[in-house]
């Protein structure tokens, strides 16, 4: 930084290339020229006025030297929660981008960054992607600080740690590691930090930019890192020794290590009676297998193994299939692709129209297709059951979709043998997925009895033992079978 105000202002302006959202206010304090630089929309004007301008206007000293003014500003005038002395233009630019105001004093070769963030952000909304009945109605926010506060409100412990890092060569996005000191193994924290520091992307705009750096093996069908938009889930996970990674501008937290069995857990399980929660959980496991396998098994039975089905069922299916013009495999693929298109349209369109899409797609097209004899009714029922089952386990939607299509094609080409080959490969793919040395398939395989109170069965809170990272890690290292 230069001691000359104009040179410092010009230096910072040149870094931004004359960007029109860079504002500079010039004023005189007791005869000393000062400048305040901010980025449009990143600071709250009213706060800045109260925190900085009003005290500055009240400063009067005869023959004031620049260092007197700087000292006054840094020690008495600025009522900000966060301040930093700036010596380099690059530091000034970084602070401006984070919503700070930079105060420059003519004659001082440094500046002062004053926290005055006030950018517009969405208020805390409901977790639309992970709704439940008895859990919180608050979701993580795009604003990193707001998300941190939401978690802090649920874990009122000084041991809860937020570790801020930066990632993204161009975006310089703030990333926050959330963990509880003493519960999260130190090695896990260090590896997560190393993973975030290794991010090479220019921009970090979604959790997808971070997750590959937290996963140990790429290319697997399953992922040892999950995402959630619920602060209560983040709180529960960090309490089990996991690490949550918050990204500024992303209303989701990436949680690692994450397990296959956790895809079947819901917040309501912990609010309901254990027997009912257990029942619902078993239903979700069943739904996963139905969604992945049912269309493939149907095609395999129809094409290669009709002997599996009972006579009456087989005759029913044959009668329905005889009326349709396409082979059962083509029919199944058409309906699956149509379903995926409708699902995509429902997600991408505004909510009001999205509902109409499902009515048009599900009722009108479906009914017309069966009535006109293009699609058989049993096949449509199979897809209906499959689609509904898929909605019961949203965390595994990508995996179920891929497995469903692969099983249909394998079942059509090679019957149950093809499905078996796909199944064995998927099983091994799940079994080799690790996240920070915790097997994705734990505590099922490797088996850990002490962590089983929250897998298929949901024990009452008095008897339930949390699936801590240490217990799961121990299973993989010390003899879990």
């Amino acid at each position: 930084m230069s001691p000359r105000l104009e040179a410092s202002v010009a230096g910072i302006k040149s870094l931004f290339g004359g960007s029109s959202d860079l504002n500079t206010v010039r004023l005189e304090v007791s005869g000393v020229k000062c400048g305040i630089m901010t980025l449009e929309g990143m600071v709250k004007s009213s706060d800045l006025s109260k925190m900085l301008f009003e005290p500055l206007m009240g400063f009067e000293k005869k023959n004031a030297e620049p260092r007197d003014v700087f000292k006054f500003i840094s020690e008495q005038a600025a009522f900000s929660t966060e301040e930093a002395v700036i010596n380099l233009f690059s530091e000034a630019a970084e602070k401006l981008c984070s919503g700070f105001a930079i105060v420059l004093v003519h004659g001082c070769p440094r500046g002062l960054a004053v926290s005055a963030q006030g950018f517009a952000s969405r208020s805390v909304s409901e977790p639309d992607g992970e709704p439940d009945i008895k859990g919180t109605r608050e979701a993580l926010s795009d604003n990193l600080r707001a998300s941190m506060a939401l978690i802090r409100r649920r874990v009122k412990s000084p041991k809860l740690r937020f570790e801020l890092l930066k990632a993204g060569k161009t975006s310089s996005t703030e990333i926050c590691l959330v963990y509880i000191e003493g519960k999260t193994p130190e090695a896990l924290r260090k590896r997560a930090k190393k993973g975030v520091e290794a991010i090479r992307s220019d921009l970090v705009l979604t959790s997808g930019s971070v997750i590959p750096y937290l996963s140990e093996r790429g290319g697997s069908l399953f992922s040892g890192v999950s995402t959630t938009e619920r602060p209560d889930v983040v709180a529960a996970k960090v309490n089990e020794g996991r690490i949550a990674v918050l990204i500024d501008g992303v209303p989701f937290a990436a949680v690692c290590p994450s397990l296959f069995a956790e895809s079947f857990q819901a917040v309501d399980d912990y609010a309901d009676k254990p027997y009912y929660a257990t029942y619902l959980r078993l239903i979700r496991y069943f739904a996963f297998f139905v969604s992945s396998l049912l269309p493939g098994l149907y095609v395999a039975c129809a094409v290669h193994h009709p002997e599996v089905l009972s006579r009456s069922l087989l005759l029913n299916l044959l009668a329905s299939e005889e009326r349709t013009p396409y082979p059962v495999t083509a029919e199944m693929m058409i309906v699956i692709v149509m379903f995926e298109i409708l699902r995509e349209a429902g997600i991408r369109l505004p909510r009001a129209i999205g509902g109409a899409v499902s009515i048009v797609g599900g009722l009108v097209i479906g009914d017309a297709a069966v009535t006109s004899g293009l699609i058989s009714a049993p096949l449509l029922i199979i897809i209906g059951i499959t689609a509904t089952s898929a909605f019961a386990v949203p965390a595994l939607t990508p995996q179920m979709t891929v497995l469903r299509i692969a099983n249909v094609l394998a079942g059509a080409a090679f019957g149950f043998f093809g499905i078996a080959v796909i199944g064995a490969s998927a099983l091994v793919s799940a079994c080799v997925t690790d996240s920070f040395s915790v097997p994705y398939t734990a505590p099922l395989t490797p088996f850990t009895l002490r962590a089983m109170s929250d897998v298929f069965l949901k024990f009452s809170e008095r008897n339930r033992k949390p699936m801590t990272v240490e217990s799961l890690n121990g299973a993989s290292k010390n003899g879990g079978d």
Binding site: A300, H304, H305, E307, V308, L309, S310, R311, L313, L314, F414, G415, F416, F417, G418, I419, A420, V421, G423, A424, S425, L427, V428, S429, C431, V432, P439, T441, L444, T445, P446, F447, K477, N478, G479, G480, D481
Partner: protein, 346 residues
Amino acid sequence: MPLRKISAGQLMLLLFLSRIMHTMIFRAESFASGTPLMLGLLVSTAVEALLAIPLVIYFSKGGADPASELFPSRPRLLKIFYSVYFLVIAGTTVALFTGFLQSEFSNVVSPIFSVLLIFAASAYCASNGVEGLGRAGTVVFWLFAGLFVFMASVNEGGFDLLNIRPMTENDLSPFFEYLADGISSAWWLPMFCALGENLRSGAAKAAYGYLVLKLAVLEALLFLVTIILWRYVDVLGYPIFALGAYAKTDFIQRFDAINMLVWAINCVIVVGTYVFICTKPSKKPKAGSYAAAALGAGIAFISYKSGLRFNDGVFLIFKAAGVILLGTAVPAAALIKLGLKRRAEK
């Protein structure tokens, strides 16, 4: 990269799945009687327990890898022998499984596709390391157990205990045949040796646990085959598979295809383990697993076309030689060398 390890229980189940695979694709051409077979299995298991002593002691005493123990400068030399042995075992297993598919599900998949698909999937499984195979093996074991219990509970077959007959002089010849077949099929010994370095601890638990499990399950299956099927096995072909024909529900008319589905999953896991062993001498395990799978597929085609069987003369000798040399002699020599080394250190 650190060596990935599995637990004693996982190794035990992998060995068991490998053995049960062999039993499933065993085609009975002349089923003399259940009694000599059951007795042959009992005696062969006892012999296997004796043959396993060197390797159990070797691994229990902290030995890591017999090949490195015997040839510290060139362990790959011995590992190549294990690779070749398991390449042949993998190829023959797939060939026999293909034979089973062609016999029971002739229109479902052609031999060429069944061989290629199994080896492609096995190569993928092997390239991901033994940890995944060990964990998947546990799941497949429970899948088998679940299917077995379910099929037993909906079984409509009758049985006759009179089919169990005492041994006679005429049964001595089949008894010795089964005994020889049982011992020569004990390639779990070289398999254990090859996978020993991947075992975390509990060599004795894995080895003797496997023997107890194998004995209990196979004796139970043989007992069921004898009392339910008896000499019809000659006509039915695959006895274990034929047992499933008696299971029936209102919804599922026949369990044959469901049986085959679980067997095929098992085949991929077991052949994946063999392929993994074959990659041991390779410096690039991922590429090595695909190369081994390609070679294994070639052997499978030759075996399938030539109609080679596990109990054919030459193959019987090949299997038995592998069991004795790679499964017993090598660990025994490694144990002696380890003992001498420890004594010299003292």
